[in-house]
Amino acid sequence: MSVRQLWEGTDAAPWMQNLNGRTKLIVLFLFAILTITIDNPRSLFVLFSITLLLHLAAKTSIYKWKVLAILLLLGLWGSMFSQALFFAQSTRTPLFVLIEPNAGFLGTLTGGLYVYREGILYGAVQGLRSASMMSLGLLVCWTSDPRQLLQALIAWRLSPQIAFMLVTAIRFLPVLAAETGEVITALQLRSDSHSGRTAVIRHLPYIAKPLLARCLRRAQTLALSVVSRGFFLANANKQAVVWDWREKLCCISLSVLVAVIVSSKISYLLSEQGFYFGVLRQAYDWTKLYL
């Protein structure tokens, strides 16, 4: 699979590809609200697992799974390790001592380095938030034709210019990846050294200029193409795409669910500030246990 193919939504299950762009964007937006609202580690874990299940259902290719795995692992374990070491809130319980406070120069400099129990959980919560959104974002990216998203944005009466620029940004991801791959290949071939010739890191400092030049050329071509086709004319994008009622129903249900969760969370937070109502006790219980 080429670098460009990696970032394009071409090989997903048909049902996922055929979903309306509006459905995908609404689900993505509501999911983002949920991951911000929920603090309970187990509930966030469930949300994260749902995104992985959606990838399975969408038949994400093995190659893409591998890329997804690397990105998720870096985010998750990076967050957990950093919080485990530098967790600053109280209460914190040291599980292991990495550097004793009186262990020579390093000990004096750092004041001791510990792995904190609460930090691991806190890092897991933050990591799960970003991992869930990354996983779902990649799912939308890998299963959507940019035109789908463009039509969805225009259907919501977003200015065609802004909608086009938003979608172009997504469209440019695979293009940018492919261009980068080509530049690196060219640099590798031109390298006069045989040792470490294929190493990517060696060539990274030199890819900015050729990549920028290529992007500018492509942007100019794109601008000419858009103007010549009359893309922004009033009637150019009137082809309405039917939004299936089942998808609408799903979006409404999910919106109601998210509204209930957010209201419950707000009422619980208010109760902690003194705005407590006994009739909402069940809601407070539910929020404390699951949100």
Binding site: F45, A69, L121, A124, S271, Y276, G278, Y284, D285
Partner: protein, 471 residues
């Protein structure tokens, strides 16, 4: 090799998923090694509070009461938060009552309403629906004794008692110290109906110029008793008597009793007593100077016993202040706290007073039965038939941190039934009516060595002594 690397990433993702399932659940790796959880009962964290020096006089407070109607525990904290926990330590509800510290509590006879007193700029007295956590009514102590925020003179509801009709009797006071060091006191006794309507206030048109820390009410004799406990004793003070007896229906004074002080003290201070017997015939009072007294219902002294005699050692007066006084089915109980230097609370003492940190039992005729000595201050007592649960707190003389915990004593013979150690000192305690469960609040402390001991948390223990098991 590259293929293997790709698959390795997938395998690590799968392992990470399993690890996250473990970490985000209750079966976390660190809990697997937490031994003795059954023996130690359950504990629940009550939030962050400032950690106070071990030797400081004013210390962290909390209130806890068993709620029979909900089979749970009502806990009020210094953070102004009120919790209802079940026996497994799960929060059934939690609410904030504002910025005040919750320092006093009393439960209605049907255990469906809790009366909570706070120390705050307003000094509110709340009636709370125990099932839902709703506020039924509230009164501000500042309306009765005033408030002066500029001098940090805030009113408090320091003690609450209820009668059989669930009328509420509450002590409210305010203490003021001006820049030149002079002290002044404003206090009042309030009686409030179950519905929240004010029945009477004592005195009706002025405030008491002394601290009133305690009160008790009895339906059989129809009286409310108040004790006074000022630091100093001045000739210009109007309310100089030790005990005031009021008619519980009208709030008019029936009698007052002045208890003469004993050297080296200048006045008699009764701070955490007196309490009536169930039938209202007797009244037990414990004085700070170390005396335990039994009165009849209108304040006639029946007998006095020194549970801790002030002693002069190396030109230093030391004593173990008396605190609690209760009349139980098994006798009259008094307690003493740490040993203190008469000159200054925080000055060292040459030795520990032999009667400090103890619980004493006397017969109704004044006959001494036994003394049980703990290693730290008995901060609060809670009774369930023949069992008495004691919150054992600090010992500022010996710094014996192993003393902290919950102590269960059999009142019949003064023998220890159970002890559960807590890392920090135990500050509040209650026991279920059948004696099967005990809950206590532990507070964090900063030792002179700079180490923090314990945390602000609730402990619930199963005593295994419920019902007939008491015998």
């Amino acid at each position: 090799m590259n293929k293997l690397k790709g698959w390795l990433a997938l395998v690590i993702l799968a392992v990470s998923w399993c690890a996250l399932y473990w970490i985000t659940g209750s079966r976390t790796p660190w809990n697997q090694f937490n031994t003795g959880s059954n023996e130690q009962g359950v504990s629940a964290y009550l939030g962050d509070i400032p950690v106070i020096n071990y030797d400081r006089m004013g210390f962290t407070k909390a209130v806890v009461r068993y709620i029979k109607a909900e089979n749970g525990w009502l806990v009020g904290t210094e953070r102004g938060e009120l919790f209802l926990f079940n026996n497994e330590g799960r929060v059934l509800w939690k609410r904030s009552l504002g910025i005040g510290k919750l320092i006093s509590v009393c439960i209605s006879n049907d255990t469906k309403t809790a009366y909570i007193g706070e120390a705050s700029p307003e000094g509110n007295l709340y009636a709370i629906n125990v099932k839902s956590g709703d506020i039924i009514w509230q009164h501000k102590a500042s309306d009765f004794v005033g408030t002066e925020a500029s001098l940090r003179s805030h009113p408090s509801i320091v003690h609450i008692a209820v009668d059989k009709e669930d009328n509420v009797f509450a002590n409210c006071y305010r203490f003021k110290m001006t820049k030149d060091g002079t002290r002044s006191y404003s206090a009042k006794m309030l009686a409030i109906e179950k519905s929240g309507k004010l029945l009477w206030e004592y005195p009706a048109h002025e405030t008491i110029d002394c601290w009133i820390n305690w009160c008790d009410v009895n339906d059989n004799n129809g009286k409310v008793v108040i004790s006074t406990s000022a630091y100093d004793y001045r000739p210009d003070m109007k309310y100089r008597d030790t005990l005031y007896f009021l008619d519980k229906k009208t709030g008019t004074k029936v009698n007052s009793v002045w208890v003469p002080p004993v050297p080296p003290f200048e006045n008699t201070v009764v701070r955490s007593s007196p309490n009536y017997s169930k039938d209202g015939r007797f009244l037990a009072a414990s004085c700070s100077d170390g005396r335990g007294m039994l009165f009849d219902s209108v304040g006639n002294l029946l007998w006095t016993r020194f549970v801790s005699v002030p002693a002069n050692v190396d030109n230093t007066w030391i004593n173990a202040s008396g605190r609690d006084g209760f009349v139980t089915d098994y006798g009259v109980t008094f307690t003493t706290i740490n040993t203190f230097n008469r000159e200054n609370w925080q000055l060292p003492t040459p030795l520990e007073h032999p009667s400090n940190n103890s619980i004493f039992l006397f017969g109704l005729d004044g006959e001494f039965k036994y003394q049980f000595k703990a290693e730290g201050t008995m901060e609060e007592l809670a009774f369930a038939d023949n069992l008495v649960a004691c919150a054992v707190g600090r010992n500022v003389r010996t710094h014996n941190y192993a003393a902290h915990g919950m102590l269960l004593i059999d009142l019949k013979d003064g023998k220890e039934k159970l002890f559960h150690h807590t890392e920090g000192p135990c500050q509040a305690i209650d026991i279920s009516a059948d004696g099967s469960k005990v809950a206590a609040v532990e507070a964090p402390v900063l030792t002179p060595q700079g180490k923090i001991l314990g945390a602000y948390r609730l402990h619930i223990w199963d005593t295994g002594l419920g019902g007939k098991g008491n015998d």
